[in-house]
C-alpha cells in the first residue's frame, strides 16, 4: 500500500503498447481517458463485458462508453433494460461464469435499486464461499454535484459503500488516474465501486499510457507543503489544489493528498504529512455527518495525537438533501470554505 508500489507489467493495466497505437502521451478529458481505459481492458481480456443503460449506440449519457459497442459488439457492450438491480444482479451471474462485468449506473442517485444486490450479494459472495468464488465486478458510478442537475443527479453516496465490508471503493480525480484505475479495478478479483467525479469528466490533462501506474489502493501526495494537510478525493482534489495555490500566495504551504482509495483507506501518507504539519482538514462533497471525513479524522487522531496542533476539521456538504442547483454553490465545499477551515485550524 505504499505510494511507490507498482503493478507487475504482465498484468492488465500495466505498461505495454502495440505497434500503430496512438502516441503514448495524449491530452484528453477524463471521459475519454475512461473510454480508453475500458477499451484497453476489453482488448486485453475477452471476459470483460460492459452492461448498463444507454451505453451502446448512445455511448452512455456522459459518452464514457462511446464507440465501444460498435467495436466490441452487443454481446460485450450490453444495453440493459432500465433496472439497476437487474444490471448488478445479472452481473453477479455472469461473474459466476467467469466474466468480468463492468456495470454502469447512469447517475449516483440511481444506484439504490441495486443496493441490495451490491451489499448482500456482490460484497458477500467470496465470504459466503469461504474465499473460493471471487466476484470481479466493477460498478461505475458518476458522482457528485456542480453540474446544475435536478434532484438525484448530484449525490455523493460513497460512505454507504465504504461501510460495506467485501467491497473496494475508489475514485479518480484526473484523466491519468481514470485511465489506469479503471483498468486496475477491472483486473481486481474483488468487487470495486468506481466513483467518477462527473463535473470533472470534460476537464483535460495529459495521460501517459506507458507510465507505470500507481497501485489502485494507494493515496497520493499531489502537492507538497509544510503548514497544513488537506485530504480530499474525487472532485474535491482540484478544489483543494486551487485552495493550496491561493494559500501559497499568502505564504502558507498546504500539502494536498488525493485519497484515491476509500476502501481500503491508505492513510500512511496522510499520517506522515500530519506528523509534519500538525494540521489536517478533510474535504468532501458528501454530507458531513458520519461521512468518510469522520473516519479519516478518527484515524488521524489515533495515529497522530501528539503531533496535532488542532482538531481535525471537516469541510463537507451539509446534512440536508442536495439542494436545488441554483443553491449548490453554497452547499458544495469551495476554495473559500477550505481556506476558512485552514484559518480556523491554524488559529488554534
Amino acid at each position: 500500500m505504499s505510494t511507490t508500489s507498482v503493478r507487475p507489467s504482465s498484468r492488465p493495466g500495466a505498461r505495454g503498447r502495440d505497434e500503430g497505437t496512438p502516441a503514448p502521451v495524449r491530452t484528453m478529458t477524463m471521459a475519454k481517458a475512461l473510454n480508453a481505459g475500458l477499451r484497453k481492458a476489453m482488448e486485453d481480456d475477452p471476459k470483460v463485458l460492459l452492461a448498463g443503460e444507454d451505453i451502446g449506440k448512445l455511448g452512455g449519457v456522459f459518452r464514457v462508453t462511446e464507440g465501444l459497442q460498435k467495436d466490441f459488439g452487443e454481446s460485450r457492450v450490453i444495453d440493459t433494460p432500465l433496472a439497476e438491480s437487474g444490471i448488478v444482479g445479472t452481473a453477479v451471474g455472469m461473474a459466476l461464469r467467469g466474466y468480468r462485468p463492468v456495470c454502469e449506473i447512469q447517475f449516483d442517485g440511481f444506484v439504490f435499486p441495486a443496493f441490495d444486490q451490491i451489499v448482500t450479494q456482490v460484497a458477500r459472495m467470496r465470504w459466503r464461499t469461504k474465499g473460493a468464488v471471487p466476484m470481479p465486478v466493477v460498478i461505475r458510478i458518476p458522482f457528485g454535484g456542480g453540474i446544475g442537475a435536478v434532484e438525484h443527479h448530484s449525490e455523493s453516496p460513497e460512505a454507504y459503500f465504504a461501510h460495506t465490508v467485501g467491497l473496494k471503493v475508489v475514485t479518480c480525480s484526473n484523466p491519468a488516474d481514470a485511465y489506469w484505475m479503471i483498468q486496475q479495478a477491472i483486473a481486481s478479483d474483488d468487487p470495486v465501486i468506481f466513483f467518477e467525479p462527473k463535473r470533472r469528466y470534460y476537464e483535460k490533462a495529459e495521460v501517459d499510457t506507458t507510465a507505470e501506474p500507481l497501485d489502485l489502493h494507494s493515496s497520493r501526495v499531489v502537492r507538497p507543503g509544510r503548514d497544513g494537510t488537506l485530504v480530499a478525493y474525487g472532485p474535491m482534489v482540484k478544489t483543494c489544489v486551487e485552495a493550496a495555490s491561493v494559500a501559497a500566495d499568502e505564504g502558507r504551504e498546504l500539502e494536498v493528498i488525493d485519497l484515491r482509495t476509500l476502501s481500503p483507506l491508505d492513510l500512511g501518507p496522510v499520517f506522515e504529512s500530519v506528523r509534519r504539519t500538525g494540521h489536517a482538514v478533510v474535504v468532501h462533497e458528501a454530507p458531513v455527518s458520519v461521512g468518510l471525513g469522520a473516519e479519516v479524522a478518527a484515524r488521524i487522531t489515533e495515529e497522530c495525537f501528539y503531533s496535532l496542533e488542532a482538531p481535525v476539521l471537516r469541510v463537507a456538504g451539509m446534512d440536508v438533501p442536495y439542494p436545488p442547483s441554483r443553491a449548490e454553490e453554497d452547499y458544495l465545499p469551495d476554495l473559500d470554505r477550505v481556506l476558512d477551515a485552514v484559518d480556523r485550524s491554524l488559529a488554534y
Partner: protein, 374 residues
C-alpha cells in the same frame, strides 16, 4: 379458492398438469408425458423419502438445541425431486433455503446444510463441481443471478449448439412470496429480453410465512409469464412425474436456445415456515388435511404398490437407508468443528486489507492476554 385447492380441479383454464393422481393412477395429458420408466419412479420415491427423513432429523436436531433454525421442505418433496431429476450435469441451479431436495439431489452432502443452520459455516459447498449455487437467503436475488448465469452460458457457446451433452440451462427456484419481489420480476424481464436459458421454477406453497398466496397475487402466478413474453405452465407440484415432464420440456427449450419458461409448481408447505414459526396462529387444520391427501410420496408409493413396480423389500430398504443416513448425519452434525472468527478474515478479500490485518492482530493480541493471565 373456497375449496383450498385453488385451480387444481378436474378441469378449467387454470388446471395444473397432472400425470399421477393423488391415489396413484397414471393419467394422460395432451401436452406432457413422463419420459421415465418404473426404475426412475422408484428413484423418485427413494429420493423423496430420503430428503423427508433428513428434514425430520434436522427438525429434531433443532428442537434439541443442536441447530439454530431449520426451514422444513415437508410437502414439497415431489416438486423438488421431480425438478432436480430433469436437470443434467451441465445445468446449474439457484436454490433458496427450503430447497433441500434440490441441493441433496445435486449431490450436496446434507451435512453441509446442517452446518449452515448449526452456525458452523456460512453455508458453503463446491458450487462449480455440483452445479448448484448456495442457498439464497435474501428473497428473489437469485432471479437475476440465474439470468446472468444463463447469459454467461450463452456467451460461452453452451446454448443452442445442438449437442445435448454440451448445451446447458439454469434452474431458478423461488417461492410464491418471491414473486412480489422486484428482483424476480426484473429477472423475468432480463431473461425474456435476452432470451436467456433459464427455467423460472416457482413453488407456490400457498404461504409466505403467515401471508397467504392471495396477498401476493390475485391471479394465478403462472399467468404472469404471458406479460413478460414467455410461456407459463402450472403443474401439480405434488406429482413428481408431472413436474419432471414439465421441467424436462422447459429445460430442453432453454438449452436449445428458445428462451425462458415460467413454471408454477402448485404445492403446499405442510410444516411451519421455519422452526421459529407457529402456523397454528394463521392457518386452519382442515386445509392441512386436504393437502395431506395429496401427499407427493404417498401417491408414488400407491402407484408402485398397485402396479407391482416395487415390493415390500424395496420400501423396507429405502426406509432403512434413510434411517442410516439420519443416524450418520446426527453423529456428524454434533462433531462439526467450531468455526473461528479469525478464519473468516480470510474470506473477505483476495488478500486481507490493511484494516483487516490490523484488526485481526489486535483481536489476537487481546485474546492472548487472557491466556497470559492464567
Amino acid at each position: 379458492m373456497s375449496d383450498g385447492l385453488n385451480g387444481l380441479g378436474e378441469s378449467g383454464p387454470d388446471t395444473a398438469v397432472q400425470l399421477l393422481t393423488p391415489t396413484g393412477e397414471r393419467v394422460e395429458h395432451p401436452d406432457y408425458a413422463f419420459a421415465g420408466d418404473d426404475a426412475m419412479v422408484r428413484r423418485f420415491y427413494a429420493d423423496m423419502v430420503r430428503v423427508r427423513r433428513v428434514d425430520a432429523e434436522a427438525i429434531a436436531l433443532q428442537r434439541q438445541g443442536e441447530l439454530g433454525l431449520w426451514p422444513s421442505l415437508l410437502g414439497q418433496e415431489g416438486a423438488q425431486i421431480g425438478a432436480v431429476h430433469a436437470m443434467r450435469d451441465q445445468d446449474y441451479a439457484f436454490p433458496t433455503y427450503r430447497e433441500h431436495g434440490i441441493t441433496i439431489g445435486r449431490g450436496v452432502d446434507p451435512l453441509r446444510l446442517l452446518a449452515m443452520f448449526r452456525g458452523t459455516d456460512p453455508g458453503t459447498w463446491d458450487i462449480e463441481a455440483l452445479g448448484v449455487h448456495l442457498y439464497s437467503i435474501i428473497i428473489g436475488t437469485q432471479g437475476l443471478q440465474a439470468t446472468g448465469y444463463g447469459m454467461g452460458l450463452e456467451r460461452d457457446g453452451l446454448v443452442g449448439s445442438g449437442d445435448p451433452e454440451r448445451d446447458a440451462a439454469v434452474m431458478c427456484f423461488f417461492g410464491d412470496g418471491a414473486t412480489s419481489q422486484g428482483d424476480i420480476n426484473e429477472g423475468l424481464v432480463f431473461a425474456s429480453s435476452f432470451n436467456a436459458p433459464v427455467v423460472f421454477f416457482c413453488q407456490n406453497n400457498q404461504w409466505a410465512i403467515s401471508e397467504p398466496i392471495e396477498r401476493q397475487s390475485r391471479a394465478p402466478l403462472y399467468r404472469r409469464a404471458a406479460g413478460f413474453g414467455l410461456p407459463g405452465v402450472r403443474v401439480d407440484g405434488n406429482d413428481a412425474l408431472a413436474v419432471h415432464a414439465v421441467t424436462t420440456a422447459a429445460l430442453d427449450r432453454a438449452r436449445s436456445g428458445n428462451g425462458p419458461t415460467f413454471i408454477e409448481a402448485y404445492t403446499y408447505r405442510m410444516g411451519a415456515h421455519t422452526t421459529s414459526d407457529d402456523p397454528t396462529k394463521y392457518r386452519l387444520e382442515h386445509e392441512l388435511a386436504q393437502w395431506r391427501d395429496r401427499d407427493p410420496i404417498s401417491r408414488v408409493r400407491a402407484y408402485l404398490e398397485s402396479t407391482g413396480a416395487a415390493d415390500a423389500d424395496f420400501f423396507a430398504a429405502v426406509d432403512a437407508e434413510s434411517d442410516e443416513l439420519a443416524v450418520r448425519l446426527r453423529k456428524e452434525c454434533l462433531a462439526l468443528p467450531e468455526p473461528s472468527l479469525a478464519e473468516t478474515f480470510d474470506w473477505v478479500y483476495a488478500t486481507k486489507s490493511p484494516e483487516l490485518v490490523e484488526q485481526l492482530a489486535r483481536h489476537e493480541e487481546y485474546a492472548a492476554s487472557f491466556e497470559e493471565a492464567r
